[in-house]
Amino acid sequence: MLPRAEVVVRGRSVAGTLGQPYIPNLPRVGACSPREPENTAVAASGSRAGPLVFLAFLVSHMSPNLSSTASHLSDAVALPDPLLGHLSMLPTALLETAAVVPSAFLLTGAVAICAVGLVLLMQPGQQSLRLGGTVLGLAGFAMLIVEVLKRAVPAGADGGIPPVFPVVFGLLAVVGAVRVMTNPRPVFAALYFMLVVLAGGGMFLLLDAEFMAFALVIVYAGAILITYMFVLMLAQQSPVAGVGEAWYDRMPREAISGVIVGFVILATLSDAYFSPKAQIARDTTMVESAHAGTVASWQRLASMPKLLLETARVANPAVVSITSFDPETGRLDAVLTSGASEQITLPPSMMPDNSRQVGVELVSRFPAGLEIAGVVLLMALFGAVILARKQIELGEDERRTIAGMRRLTVEGEAGGSSATLGANR
């Protein structure tokens, strides 16, 4: 939490204030002389090295301190594939471009690049396109994250150590999400979703929401995803040799319009989130609410007398009881075993942990919501039971056939090939 006295417009002007042109310290992939790969794993990954190159580049870019490391790393990555080499030039070039583009358009531009990448990624059966899409998408993501992180740092302030974890988790989550929506195999999609959940949990952790992080992983990965898996097993035909997955899994519908709609939202959201105005508002809110958050935590502690007592005892084992507790300051008047009263100031580290606080918050502030959540789950249970009853003996087409009506599906229209369907029937 960095209190900011003044906030100037971020972006290129930052470099200007520093008195030097803002030239990102970019790894010069093409220019470097081939060396012995120090990181054989990376090198061995070959064409899959793109993301790592990015990661390295990101890290190097974010932190001047790490720049040598990064360039080292990037130098270390030999790119055997000339195509990939060229493709790798692309993000570099893009970033160079980004440096001269007004920051107001940077986010939007990056979003657009992401969109193009996603569209390419969604082209079925076109390996090279998808590769390009990957590169473009990553480049867009890189531009986005760089710009976004830069905006979190006030002008003239030192960015400090680059936030590796948020970037890593974010990248994982996004990659997972993209795979969820592009993978033709539903099972893999579900598994990638698990990746998203895990990465999301990581983000939760970074945001000090430990309880939610683990709850998320448990509920999603443990319960919901398993349900999906079961359903997939029930409903999904296995890929047929020579045909592959069902056509509806291979062919996205109206990819471009969908992407446009999605990325309009994305552009709006990113502009809304990261515009200077919003950034200032958020920073201000954080500064202003810091104290309130502490007070709220102490209050929650106060609402748990036993825990308060225990906490006080941690501070001073001699505490017998507590006469008063001031959430504003975290100061409590305790009666010691000696009968004397003592004023103890609890350090912030003694706040109750996240799960406790959430629990208190849940039952104290949102009891009705809690009840409703319970009812929802109950209803879902009923619903699931009703749905699961054995109620449909025949497929609709069969029943229509019996009734002498026209079949709704034409041979071969639905799932798989007609041969498969014929075999199934």
Partner: protein, 114 residues
């Protein structure tokens, strides 16, 4: 604060920005996936993605405001997601049994005939 979260010295502001960006991207991916995929199961997965995004944004903003309501609401999201998964997947199974396909377009006859 957990010590390890700050070990790499990411500022809160940076983390929050990253989280918000990821949330937006997740949401977009979920939305785009929902709009473009034909498989009903994956469509639901994509809604889950959007839930994720919402949850992440809630938590990030909770962090901004130093308020736990954000986290509490994530619980509700989880609830709804679970309920939805239960019901929706049940429905998907039913639908699949009727048409033997997971293609959502197989159920497009409610449209206005053009």
């Amino acid at each position: 604060m957990m010590p390890w979260t700050t070990s790499l010295a990411a500022t809160d502001a940076q983390t929050i920005n990253a989280a918000l960006l990821v949330s937006a991207l997740l949401f977009t991916c979920g939305l785009v996936g929902f709009l473009t995929r034909r498989n009903m199961i994956i469509m639901f997965l994509c809604t889950e993605l959007m839930f994720q995004a919402a949850a992440l944004a809630l938590i990030a903003f909770g962090k901004v405001h130093q308020d736990l309501s954000g986290q509490v609401f994530v619980i509700f999201i989880l609830t709804v997601a679970a309920a939805e998964a239960a019901l929706a997947l049940g429905l998907v199974v039913l639908l699949y049994r009727r048409r033997e396909t997971l293609d959502s377009e197989a159920w497009s006859e409610l449209r206005e005939t053009s």
